[in-house]
Subunit: 367 residues, 2 copies
Amino acid sequence: MKNSKRKEMLQTVMWKEDSVFMIDQTKLPTRLVYVKCKKYEDVVNAIKNMVVRGAPAIGISAAFGLALAAKSSNARTRTKLMSDLCRAYEELRSTRPTAVNLFWGLDRVMGKAKTGKNLLEIKSGILSEAKKMAKEDIQTNMEMGINGAGLLYDGDTVMTHCNAGALATSAYGTALGVIRAAKDAGKLIRVIATETRPVMQGSRLTTYELHHDNIDVTLIPDTAVGHIMSRGQIKCVIVGADRILRSGHVFNKIGTYQIALMARFHKVPFYVAAPMSTFDFKSDLGDVPIEQRLEDEVLKIGKKRIAAKGVHAFNPAFDVTPPELISGIITERGVLTPPFNFRQESLVGKNEKIRTLKMKLSNPSII
Amino acid sequence: MKNSKRKEMLQTVMWKEDSVFMIDQTKLPTRLVYVKCKKYEDVVNAIKNMVVRGAPAIGISAAFGLALAAKSSNARTRTKLMSDLCRAYEELRSTRPTAVNLFWGLDRVMGKAKTGKNLLEIKSGILSEAKKMAKEDIQTNMEMGINGAGLLYDGDTVMTHCNAGALATSAYGTALGVIRAAKDAGKLIRVIATETRPVMQGSRLTTYELHHDNIDVTLIPDTAVGHIMSRGQIKCVIVGADRILRSGHVFNKIGTYQIALMARFHKVPFYVAAPMSTFDFKSDLGDVPIEQRLEDEVLKIGKKRIAAKGVHAFNPAFDVTPPELISGIITERGVLTPPFNFRQESLVGKNEKIRTLKMKLSNPSII
């Protein structure tokens, strides 16, 4: 059973034939095509152009990008190799500013590289670390799924925004991983997916991967969130995250904040599902840049201009949801409940599960 | 000055060459094309397919539709003519279920028809009544504009949703009429227009007509409303309405309710601009049908499918904003302020302006 499931699992990023293969997410849902990145510069472009997107998937792609840089380096000295790696590191790091997993993935691989004693050890160390991260990511998502599945009841209708699924990770997904785990536990879950303008990850990616896995999904325009909540049709919301601060502020796809606000007003629990690699224990709220993307994403659809000529658009890729609107953060270590005041030493490095107020959260009337 | 402005004014629906001419709004902003309706059936199709849309514009188009039905009737008796008119009336009435101006326009023209003593009098009475309504609509909008303009201050940034502009009326507009009037009064007003998925009236129509009139407009995705409000960038929201109940519940384009909710949370005044013809003094909340439109409007963009195959969508065209979220309703008779408990006799039929708590409303800190 498990094997047959794994065979079908969408794998978003992987190492094969000395290259990085990734699903070209700009082509979905029309075509499932893998692009082959032979050079780290290909990975840089893939991240910038959202061929690959989703915080964990970006982190792993960047790690593999460093492995490509190591592989193609002609350096004959350790110093030259590290300098080549640093250039690639900086370029990969500057592809997108908000999701913290990118920096986490790059730093983890560079940390490994620094421990290498010679060229061969550095090169093989980088590749094995990147592969390990990709594998760990799937394991992490499955643990997160099990931890979160207890929050969902048989027959629940769950709203999700953007795509925090297999396509945002190596495989299985964060928010959608929780839904997959609930389904695997025998619960019937229906999903309401928001379109998620302007890039439409909800329409294009979330409907694709849930339908692929036979999970009931209905698409709504972003304008219908409040209306559908007011009719009492949503039992809870689960979204992913691009960065979580120690204060509990969550940076995620534009539109997340307003969904959290509406969830609070309609007494619908609002959960965030994210691995520990999404936590940023150092930055304060004002330190985190919100990426502004090209206004053409709003003014055009495909190549066709929708808005009147001469008009400008405002296109922030992310927003911030404050901790007071969040009912719980689902991680591979357990479900974190408010009040949030995370310290790195209390969350990272221990092997035991974080104790959570799961009983409290499992009662949907308490948000 | 006034004349030169009127010359340029976008005229959405008009009677010319014994036909109804209307701007084909499905072609905007790419092309400004007028379609000619020679038969009332053409008007039926134009309303159904949203060639013409916007509550007041639909009401006037339907009135002209009855004039076309009268013109083309071969009836030789009063009874036969009235029967032909009744058939057209029923067909026009069933084009769209939510906006009340459609029924208002049809009933007003039919009321006039019934007073006609002979065929000629009925036919000419219908046409002159429809023409009168189109003319009155512009006058109404200008009065509404003057009444609402006092709520806006020089330098304000105003958010609007969907298109409640010239293109939703005969000309000048309701919500955008208020903005035009504020501009005419010498105030600099910046507009933030929401895209308004799925039909994108904000992207296609609001940006078009504001840019046409040299009013500063920036387009945002529907997902960015909460984010932009949280940054304190919006001074107030003005939207139109498709139907207003005596309780003050406002039916308007899907997405209006959630904008009102976010406005309340961020202490941003939320105004509705609508003529008295939008008021429904008879229906209760449960009586009003919310039109469900084809799911292809959400699943496809143009002819291209965006969502995965096999997936369904939920596509309600309207939602309901409760009176407690509304700071004021701007009408041609004055600005109505809460608490709302409208009675037909107190609002309709008097010539004097409704007394309003304008002073209270003019302080933006009070919402």
